[in-house]
Amino acid sequence: MNIVCKWLCVGINPAARPGKGKAQIQHSLQRLISAFILFFCTSLAASAASFELPPLMQPASSEHHPGKVIWVDLVTSDLDGAKRFYSSLFGWTYKDVNAGELNYAIALLDGRPVAGLFSRQPPRDESKRPAWLTFIAVPDVDATTQLSVKNGARILFQPRTYPKRGRQAVFADPQGAVFAVLASASGDPPDVLALPGEWIWSSLITTDPDNDAAFYQTLFGYTVFPQPADDGQEHLLLATDDSARASINPLPANAPKQRPHWLNFVRVTDAVATAAQVKMLGGRVLVEPRPDRHGGQVAVVADPAGAVFGLLEWVDSDNKEVAK
């Protein structure tokens, strides 16, 4: 950089000027343009450097749970609207992380990070909508990237390190569902029961549960439990560390326009009341509250900008009978 500064200073050193009048003005102008470009590029670099994602765990955890959904990010065009909606619904508060044009907010519940909300204008193609992105824990992002590609995934964002957060990458699985992997620099969240307002469960809704299960099993080492189902379709549950992590379900046959996607569920105490509140806050109820095999209700809703997520009732005690 010192060399560049010296070079620029030549412009104001009369001894170095090659001529006078028009030529002198031209040289000054040229150096001014150069200085502007230099300033622009270094500013850009500086703003990139100042963007730091906070760690997942504070204090750091020694736990690691490959295959566990450990983080979710919302990519939305209306950050303020999303903040208001989720704050009213779940009591989330926010810590802003700004860098240049980037606006990113960490959603907190009782001071613990629960999600990231990321502001981004939609692409010109208007047939897109905001979405929640699912991050699955891995010990080695680069090894997972190689394995993903080898097994038919597409890389959407190459592995990248954020010093405090860890290393992460984003993929589309062989059926097209988008997911991310994260090797957290501060360890993974412990395997505890989520509190109301926290993420508790995830489902992959896909065109080919059988092959997707093989894909995710290869990546994360899941134990796959086929579930008894009376509809003749394949419903699977994925587990690691003797904990259920996610389900794989087929795309409903009567919804041919749907595409494979990950769906994340927030724990609620009353799915019917929360779904009603979603409507009141400007969101939509996409799947009305309905009983599931755990004995509680589940529902699927969308926030006012269209990002889809689930609601899942779960009681603390283990004395509730399984739905038959």
Binding site: Q30, R31, S34, I37, L38, C41, T42, L44, A45, A46, A48, F51, D73, V75, A99, G100, E101, R120, P122, P123, K128, R129, Q158, R160, V170, D191, L193, W201, S203, A213, Q217, V224, F225, Q227, P228, A229, D230, G232, E234, H235, L237, A239, S243, A244, S247, N249, N254, A255, Q258, R290, R293, H294, V298, V300, G306, V308, G310, K320, E321, V322
Partner: protein
């Protein structure tokens, strides 16, 4: 390009190159020299109606007291007994299906 007529251009190009190199170095990875894009900007396809879940469409695991039963007369994972082997390795039928972690958070 490097002749006496274009010295200012080559110098400007050098500065630009130097600045870009610096940007890459600061970002560490260099794949995204713009840097400020966090890298998760994706939007899902829009324009379809969600839902279509039938009465037996279930997504949640049973609770801990639930027993995963390998009843050969029932559908198991959409496959009747004797159906072709799945692409994945299924859990041993004797294994109990784990549930969502139930341990309370330490305060």
């Amino acid at each position: 390009m490097t002749g006496p007529g274009y010295p200012w251009f080559t110098r400007m190009l050098s500065v630009l190159l130097l600045a870009l190199l610096q940007a890459c170095a600061v970002n560490g990875e260099g794949y995204d020299t713009v840097g400020v894009s966090y890298g998760v900007g994706f939007y899902e396809p829009y324009g379809y109606e969600y839902g279509g879940w039938g009465p037996n469409y279930m997504v949640v695991p049973p609770r801990h007291n639930g027993v995963w039963r390998n009843d050969p007369n029932r559908f198991i994972g959409g496959r009747r007994a004797g159906a072709p082997a799945p692409s994945y390795r299924p859990a041993d039928p004797s294994r109990r299906m784990p549930s969502i972690p139930s341990r309370s958070r330490r305060r």
